[in-house]
Amino acid sequence: MGETEKIEVRDITRIERIGAHSHIRGLGLDDVLEARAVSQGMVGQKDARRAAGVVVQMVREGKIAGRCILLAGEPSTGKTAIAVGMAQALGTETPFTSMSGSEIYSLEMSKTEALSQALRKSIGVRIKEETEIIEGEVVEIQIERPATGTGQKVGKVTLKTTEMETNYDLGNKIIECFMKEKIQAGDVITIDKASGKVNKLGRSFTRARDYDATGAQTRFVQCPEGELQKRKEVVHTVTLHEIDVINSRTHGFLALFSGDTGEIKQEVRDQINNKVLEWREEGKAEINPGVLFIDEVHMLDIECFSYLNRALESDMAPVVVMATNRGITRIRGTNYRSPHGIPIDLLDRMIIIRTVPYTEKEVKEILKIRCEEEDCIMHPDALTILTRIATDTSLRYAIQLITTANLVCRRRKATEVNTEDVKKVYSLFLDENRSSKILKEYQDDYMFSEISEHEEEAAAVAGGGAKRRLDTGDGDAQAMEH
């Protein structure tokens, strides 16, 4: 028992990176789907949120397949935020796949294959299965490594319940699992006999006083009763895509981890659809349709749209939510212009949710929430200035300034960001408007300035280019308006 000597500090709070939408915890609706003014990180946009709430309800009921919802609105009016909010509101049980329109352009896979994989990733299947599990408290665990460092490891574990005790020999794979889960004497664990999955339930009450220092997250559980081996009905939630991958290759499920799935044959998909329907008839499986969210949907081209048209007809289709910030523009891959860059026939199948620009008050609220999210204490005056900046330029620019102002503030060893800090970063970092103004003024000094007469063509090429960051996208959109 060499393992017990080095007690590791476990269960420390995980440090997570803060993303653009990590402050969103739901849609902020009450029981009757009315939007609260400020709740769960969402501010304003009441109508759109209420509409999204109805969509969430529709998904939860799970009866309707293949609906399409379009979130349309100007840049930085919270389209992606609403989608993230929907994902949070649906919970972890419902599959929510989020992708960007330009993700489908891959050299290894055709566009439609990428789309159909995304569609199938959004359909969950809950499968009930009876498996044999071993549930007990670890009395003793021995893992011997060969002195050379390579070769077979030998492991033995003694498990007990209140009534009995058994020794088990461990195979190589399961030893890895034990080491990864850091199983030690006194833990109550379950082992799935078929898959060899080890799951730690907590520590046994009888071992509660072994160490004084236990993390806050350490759970104490009773030692299990009765027999060690039990038959239990477990519910797996897998997506159709995962079943596809497992069945499409000889590698089996390893392809899932390597991500090297390649094209999956339509025959395999059809077979799996039939099998899943069969399971559903038998009551072994339940289909749990989820949501596919395609951001920047104007990046899809005409082929994808016509594929989607057909794919949405299938009764295995998820609810598709799309978002776009484009007005009437060219459909990619054609010369036709259409609202939102989406063909009319597909638009006809959609319900459209519009997001409206935030008011000054709402912008202030959002900035306040972001400050909290980034652990930044801001003086009310600084917040007012920042709100002003946000309304004059863009909300995203203002959010960028929070982080930078916070750093400037820390440099002068203060805890609260004041107006000076904000002013300083405002002068240090240009927003898009000021930057383009400078460009216009000094256009002749920059390189290749003589091309300017072909500006329109250049803009067209840039519009069809690869995936870019959203804020440059905003700039692009605004440039078009000029």
Binding site: I127, Q152, Y168, D169, N172, G196
Partner: protein, 223 residues
Amino acid sequence: MSYENWLNYLQSAEKNSMISGKLRKVLYKFPDGRQMAEEYNMDTGVVQRRAWRKCKQLMGEPEWEIELGEEPRQLNFAAGNKPNPAGGGDADNMAAGEFTLRESNTAPLLTKRVTKKNIEWRIRNLPYPIDVYNVRADAEQRAIIVRTNNKKYYKVIPVPELDRCSIPPVQANISTHHQFNTLIITYQKPAILCEMEAQVLLLLKNVETETDMDDLLKGLLAK
């Protein structure tokens, strides 16, 4: 107190039978997708082995679950022998290091055997003296429960035969014996169970039996 259901269930199955050596093997394919295999001793008419194959699960092949009789278990784990036909994909049959988890070979091992008058369970590798064990018939769980007062072994043993006649196990029919590290639990068959088994044998009489494998082999060799 009747075995009607069980007989009807057996009757509904598609049955195949063959004789090999002194054993008659019967394979039942039930309409609900389950399969059962039995081996009868030709001399005594007693079931020696019975195994079930439940319907196919999500992934992988279904395995045979042995209800009765010796499991063809290999003592030499490391050798990685070829799997036994009846062993299915048992973890024991995989080469060393490839198994996920198995009971150590000193762990108690339960086997079941049926004789003309009794049902017998043998639990090997139980070195504790006889007074440690407490064997009770539990009518509620419809099972026999083995406890040890040193908390080393505990087992709920279901008795499917009694379930098939829909009678609960009775304490009076149980007797225990301990010898050579083995606990032997004997359950005297009630009359109704014997009657049921006789009926099943009658049922099997009508099942056609394929050629004796030995004869077949001999015939092939003669050519």
